[in-house]
């Protein structure tokens, strides 16, 4: 089977959906001239023209709001945020406008909008270029939140997101952009709201998101023979595939949730809450949520590495859940 990069998968999804549906267009900073600063939109302007691939001025509020208004009036925009951190500049348009309008209209207006952008840590870019944003949008009624960890999922989920009738935040991990994986040719969709077990195991469920999925898989390798770890990737964080999480936890009787974002009021703490609420009696040990330290992400690799959960932290956390409980 052919191998492609995660970022190529995203690019293919946009090519295919733009070819499939004339209403789909891409808008964002630098997306036209050279295919975007991360080259995610490579080839789109050459193929679909400047009408459908719109490079913008650095006016996040204006172009996010324009996209929301275009969605309200019949188009299906994909907004690229150069860095997801910059979404903060457009928060009113993203939340008060895009996320709320369809509901406030009593469903009389639809707002099919994909806001995609890269996020993450591990590249020494300091706090304003290293934010993890998923929990903010999970806490916002009106958004679906998608966070693929593999090239296959990245492509199938983006295609589903573009066809969805609601605002979707689609989060691309910067470090994973150049991960190369086997990905088939042809068309497939990964439905929003469906989790996948990335590694089956019997002793503990590790729910992990984004790049933490790969770290959790490495931790599982290291623990193999001693602890049989199941790694579950929710892929869509909101709506969460809770039945998949619960059935895994009911099988393993233990839970660790790992993310690269801080833990307070986050996706990880939410999964722990749901599992405690729904499957308390199935748990052997208290579950644990592992995430970043509660500081703005630091610059120096020495510091950055220390505040983000690494493979060895996941190994230790698994042992902590199983041996002593949290």
């Amino acid at each position: 089977m052919r191998k492609i990069w995660y970022k190529t998968a995203i690019n293919e999804a946009m090519h295919e959906e733009m070819a499939r549906d004339e209403r789909v267009f891409l808008i964002g900073e630098d997306v036209d001239l050279f295919g975007g600063v991360f080259k995610i939109s490579r080839g789109l302007v050459e193929r679909f023209g400047a009408r459908r691939v719109r490079g913008t001025p650095i006016s996040e509020s204006a172009f996010v709001g324009l996209a929301a208004g275009a969605a309200m009036t019949g188009l299906r925009p994909i907004v690229e945020m150069m860095y997801i951190d910059f979404a903060l500049v457009a928060m009113d348009q993203l939340i008060n406008q895009a996320a709320s309008t369809s509901y406030m209209s009593g469903g009389r207006v639809r707002l099919p909008l994909v806001v995609r952008g890269q996020y993450g840590t591990g590249t020494s870019e300091a706090a304003q270029h290293s934010r993890n944003f998923e929990s903010w949008f999970i806490n916002t009624p009106g958004y679906k939140v998608v966070m693929p960890s593999t090239a296959y999922d990245a492509k199938g989920l983006l295609k589903s997101a573009i066809r969805d009738e609601n605002p979707v935040l689609y989060l691309e991990n910067r470090v994973l952009y150049t991960h190369k994986e086997e990905v088939p040719e042809g068309e497939w969709l990964v439905p929003l709201g469906s989790a996948e077990v990335k590694r089956a195991g019997a002793d503990i469920t590790v729910v992990a998101t984004g790049y933490a999925v790969h770290k959790a898989l490495s931790a599982a390798e290291q623990l193999a023979g001693r602890v049989d770890v199941e790694v579950l990737d929710p892929r869509t964080l909101d709506p969460l595939d809770l039945p998949a999480v619960l059935s895994s936890v009911r099988k393993t009787a233990n839970l660790l949730v790992v993310q690269e974002a801080p833990v307070q009021c986050s996706f990880a703490s939410e999964v722990v809450r749901l599992v405690v609420q729904e499957a308390f009696r199935d748990l052997e040990h208290p579950p644990l949520a592992l995430g970043a330290a509660d500081v703005p992400v630091p610059f120096s690799p020495a510091l950055e590495r220390a505040v983000i959960p690494q493979v060895e932290d996941i190994v230790a956390a698994v042992q902590r859940v199983l041996e002593k409980g949290a």
């Binding site: 267009f25 009408r51 913008t56 001025p57 006016s59 509020s61 204006a62 172009f63 996010v64 709001g65 324009l66 996209a67 929301a68 208004g69 275009a70 969605a71 309200m72 009036t73 019949g74 188009l75 009113d92 348009q93 008060n96 406008q97 309008t101 369809s102 509901y103 406030m104 209209s105 009593g106 469903g107 009389r108 207006v109 639809r110 009624p141 009106g142 679906k144 969805d164 009738e165 609601n166 709506p239």
Partner: protein
């Protein structure tokens, strides 16, 4: 400038009176508790909504503001369902989900008001973008007021609209106040037209209390927009007669309101039409009766409409999959 046909003048008058009497009714219902929430009355500014919206087609989109009853009535004519929405009822324009600041009637191009000052301006560019993208000669209108010109969205959108030659008509209703703050205390350079021109947007100032002047300026701007000549801005000078909203009282300099009285948009236009012999006293009486009966029906419709059912509601969160 071409003179306006008599039947259009009559239509403009009908809408002016309808909106004025609607707002007077709303004020009473609000104080009786039948209408709740933040209610921003449009009294004194009717000529802007009527002059602009009656120059549009149904398919042209309007993005309104927190002070949007006038825009909603002038664009959609859905007086009964607007009243029901203000009362929080299921048959309201937004099925009781939006209220006074969020009135939607997409088939008539009414794309909602906005609770965020300046928040609707980018959306109005989106309506224009869609029209341009589809190669249609539809246009889009973004209403906002003097308070919104100091938001970043205003500057960003002037640039983007001019850059992409979007068919958007930006309408600034300069009603002299933002909540309790007079314009001179919020705005260093008060010349909104000059600001727009500095960004490359053709702009013009009109007497926002003269419905004919607004209608003529809007009609000319809309014609240019349909020919893809790039965005336009109209600054309509007007006056907010009522306090900012139901819950925020304000005090004006003694005599200030009285100065504006002779400029009242309804009496100004009535006086002119009577003077021209275009309408008679009995026409006027008949008009007032028609409006009164319609509003009676609207209030009855609203009061009889069921409340939205909270049992059904959660299914609307992920809209219409």
């Amino acid at each position: 400038m071409e003179s306006i046909d008599l039947h259009i003048k009559r239509e403009l008058l009908e809408y002016l009176v309808l909106i004025r009497r609607f707002e007077e009714r709303v004020k009473v219902l609000y104080h009786q508790g039948a209408i709740m929430g933040a209610i921003h009355l449009y009294i004194g500014q009717e000529a802007v909504a009527v002059g602009v919206c009656r120059s549009l087609r149904d398919e042209d989109t309007v993005f309104s503001t927190h002070r949007g009853h006038g825009h909603a009535i002038a664009k959609s004519g859905e007086v009964e369902r607007i009243m029901a929405e203000l009362m929080g009822r299921d048959e309201g324009l937004s099925r009781g989900h939006g209220g006074s600041m969020h009135l939607f009637e997409p088939p008539k191009g009414l794309m909602g008001g906005n609770g965020i000052v300046g928040g609707g301006i980018p959306l109005s560019l989106g309506g224009a973008f869609t029209a341009q993208y589809q190669g249609s000669d539809r246009i889009s209108v973004g209403f906002f007021s003097d308070g919104a010109v100091n938001q970043g969205t205003f500057a960003e959108c002037l640039n983007l609209a001019a850059l992409w030659k979007l068919p958007v008509l930006l309408v600034c209703e300069n009603n002299q106040y933002a909540a309790t703050t007079p314009v001179e205390r919020s705005t260093a350079v008060r010349d909104v037209v000059g600001r727009a021109r500095a960004f490359g947007v053709r702009a013009e100032k009109v007497d926002g209390n003269d419905v004919e002047a607004v209608f003529q300026a809007a009609t000319a701007a809309v014609a240019a927009l349909r020919q893809s000549q790039g965005p336009r801005l109209l600054e309509c000078e007007t006056y907010r007669v009522e306090p900012h909203c139901g819950i925020i009282p304000d005090e004006r300099t003694p005599g200030e309101r009285e100065l504006w009285n002779p400029r009242d948009p309804v009496s100004l236009f009535v006086g002119r039409l009577v003077g021209e012999g275009a309408i008679s006293a009995s026409d006027l009486e008949a008009l007032e009766r028609r409006v009164r009966e319609r509003l009676d029906r609207a209030v009855e419709f609203g009061a009889r409409s069921p409340w939205p059912d909270p049992q059904v509601d959660p299914h609307r969160t992920w809209v219409l999959q």
